[in-house]
């Protein structure tokens, strides 16, 4: 009896599972790497207020965290007011004409106003005209 040789005798089965595995792995990898900016948000006890629904989905040009003990954080790194002033000045200078340089301040709700005042004085000195105060709802839930 002659045995069939080559591939003609076998059914070609394309197994898609490993490819799907790899594709998902790649998606997860890119999701992780692109979300790092968001994940680096410092955990701060923000003022509990309803806030305002934003009509325009404009991201803040600069986000500054302010801790209870008066430490200023930019991208989760502690910074002096001079450094923050320098970064803000560079941002204001590089902002396209007509587009405001918005600063979002994420303060600890119990921090004294003096820390906020120091920061805002520095920012206004380099030309920042608009700022936003980050808040959370009373229940801490989303709107």
């Amino acid at each position: 009896m002659r045995r069939r040789s080559g591939t003609s005798g076998h059914m070609l089965n394309v197994d898609l599972t490993p490819m799907i595995d790899v594709v998902f792995q790649l998606i997860i990898f890119f999701m992780f790497t692109s979300q790092f900016g968001e994940l680096r948000r410092t955990d701060i006890d923000l003022p509990k207020e309803q806030g305002e629904e934003e009509t325009e989905k404009q991201q803040a040009s600069m986000i500054i965290d302010l801790t209870l003990d008066g430490q200023y954080l930019f991208e989760s790194k502690p910074m002096s007011l001079i450094e923050i002033e320098r970064i803000a000045a560079t941002g204001v200078a590089s902002q396209p004409e007509g587009e405001p340089f918005d600063v979002l301040v994420r303060p600890d709700r119990n921090a004294p106003a003096v820390y906020l005042d120091r920061l805002l004085m520095r920012l206004s000195g380099v030309g920042v005209r608009r700022w936003k105060l980050a808040t959370v709802d009373q229940e801490g839930a989303s709107q």
Binding site: F24, Q25, K48, E49, Q50, A134
Partner: protein, 141 residues
């Protein structure tokens, strides 16, 4: 006996279902949705203009009404002119009687918690003041 033989025969005809790959994919999907889910609390924002003493960003010639925030016996006190308010509700009722055109400026003592500034900004916003500004106090750093 006869039943178990027929079941075995049927199984051999169908072949074993490879569950490993399916579990692989299911776990990957689970991880994917865990990663993409946003567990952080949603943050809201209170926008305000920055106004400094002696020269502001307000283009209006009219002087904005000032909400002064201080701390009295550990409690924040909001003062507009001669009127004092202890909470947001009473502050909103006072603001409701004021004209909206000049806008409102907020000033706070250095020891006032930032929560009270947010409360004043929220009250002004709820009372329909489109022009809200914060006047940082002069402080040596």
């Amino acid at each position: 006996m006869t039943r178990s033989r027929s079941v075995r025969r049927r199984r051999s005809r169908l072949g074993a279902l490879p569950l490993t790959s399916m579990i692989d994919v299911v776990f990957l999907l689970l991880v994917f949705f865990l990663v993409t889910a946003d567990f952080a609390k949603k943050e809201n924002k209170l926008p305000s203009a920055l106004q400094t003493e002696g020269g502001g960003v307000q283009s209006s010639d009219m002087q904005p009404q000032i909400i002064r925030i201080s701390v009295l016996n550990g409690q924040p006190v909001f003062t507009i002119g001669q009127v004092r308010c202890g909470d947001r509700v009473s502050l909103e009722s006072v603001l409701a009687q004021l004209p909206r055109e000049p806008g409102v400026a907020i000033k706070a003592d250095p020891d006032v918690p930032i929560q009270s500034i947010a409360t004043a900004l929220q009250a002004a916003r709820n009372s329909g003041f489109a022009r809200r500004s914060y006047v940082p106090g002069e402080s040596s750093d």
